[in-house]
């Protein structure tokens, strides 16, 4: 649970919009909703990144805690899920009924409803005033425990 005595940073995260089958070696790959990347806001992104991932901003974790959002599920028996933490797209729809899952999953469509993306320059920039950051509590799902943060 986040502590609002702390001044939490806002971070940008990228969610996978595609589920991939495991590799022949058995190693699993990202599936839909997995948190693929976490980064500081305000960095330019390539066109492919904007097309392939759903970007949103979150807050409610300390700097050091953001790193674990891209952890794998690893046990002594090996690595399993490629990502331990995810945000089910249905959960986003629940929090923002205007979010359209079908549009998000449509191929070759740039759909970034939680951010304003500036396409005018050579690089795309995600503008901060697109959407208020989401609070992590009750949003991010931990596959290991089966619970939301």
């Amino acid at each position: 649970m986040s502590d609002i005595n702390t001044n939490y940073p806002v971070m940008e995260i990228a969610l996978s919009l595609v589920s991939y089958t495991p590799l022949e070696s058995g190693h699993e790959r990202v599936i839909e909703g997995d948190i693929v990347a976490v980064r500081n806001p305000g960095t330019g992104v390539g066109r492919k990144e904007v097309e392939e991932f759903l970007w949103l901003r979150i807050e409610g974790l300390e700097d050091s805690e953001f790193d674990r959002l891209t952890q794998t599920v690893e046990t002594t028996a090996g690595e399993f899920d490629k990502r331990r933490f995810c945000i089910p797209l249905e959960k986003l729809e629940e929090l923002d009924p205007e979010f359209d899952i079908d549009l998000a999953l449509e191929d070759d469509r740039i759909y970034q409803p939680f951010l304003l993306v500036d396409y005018e320059t050579d690089y795309s920039f995600i503008l901060e005033d697109g959407h208020l950051p989401f609070e992590v509590n009750g949003l991010i799902y931990d596959k290991v425990t089966g619970e939301y943060l």
Binding site: M1, D3, V18, S19, Y20, T21, G78, V144, G146, Y148
Partner: protein
């Protein structure tokens, strides 16, 4: 290597089939359970596999599995079973949110202060209501006293008139304590709200 199956207890919806023997030791067993080496009459694919290593959607008829723990079996779910999965999931999520909300009220360093402040106001409001009732009772008795005194002719009648007035009760009603109100609010937190 064992094949393990993670499923939702309430609906039997299979969430993951691991042919590499993944153990789900830390899963919340209030909502989830897993089977080890059940029978798979319809295979172990829980999702369709498309070219390009892309997996199909969840809950697709012909792929989505349902767990039958009593028979240690995992089979294809029927369409009506698949249609029912979502409401069980929403129910489980809401239960988790309700549990989380209780923690929020009791443990969040700042929010609990707001919560406690509101409860204190409830207690104060109760005391005010109690005080108003008491005040009205005393006004009524004073008015009755004046009426009685106006009608008396001697000291004996005066004594009788005063004696006939009802006693003033020290406590007119029970006032709930802060802890009682807090627990009442926590008990009111519902997954259905």
């Amino acid at each position: 290597m064992a094949t393990t199956v993670l499923y939702r207890i309430s609906s039997g919806e299979v969430l993951k089939i691991s042919t590499r023997g993944q153990m789900f030791d830390r899963i919340n067993t209030d909502y989830f359970e897993y089977l080890i080496d059940p029978s798979f009459p319809d295979g172990t694919n829980n999702r369709e596999q498309f070219p390009g290593s892309v997996m199909g959607p969840l809950r697709e008829l012909g792929f989505q599995k349902i767990s039958i723990p009593s028979a240690s079996e995992v089979r294809n779910a029927t369409q009506s079973e698949i249609d029912g999965f979502e409401s069980y999931k929403i129910d489980d999520d809401n239960l988790q949110d309700a549990t989380g909300a209780s923690d929020f009220l009791e443990k969040h360093k700042r929010f609990r202060k707001i919560f406690k402040a509101i409860l204190k106001l409830v207690v104060i409001k109760q005391l005010l209501e109690k005080s108003n009732v008491k005040q009205n009772e005393m006004i009524d008795q004073w008015n009755q006293y004046k009426t009685n005194v106006a009608a008396i002719n001697n000291l004996t009648e005066f004594k009788d008139a005063v004696a006939s007035l009802p006693d003033i009760q020290s406590n007119l009603m029970e006032t709930a304590t802060l802890a009682q109100i807090k627990n009442a609010v926590l008990n009111e937190i519902s997954k259905d709200d």
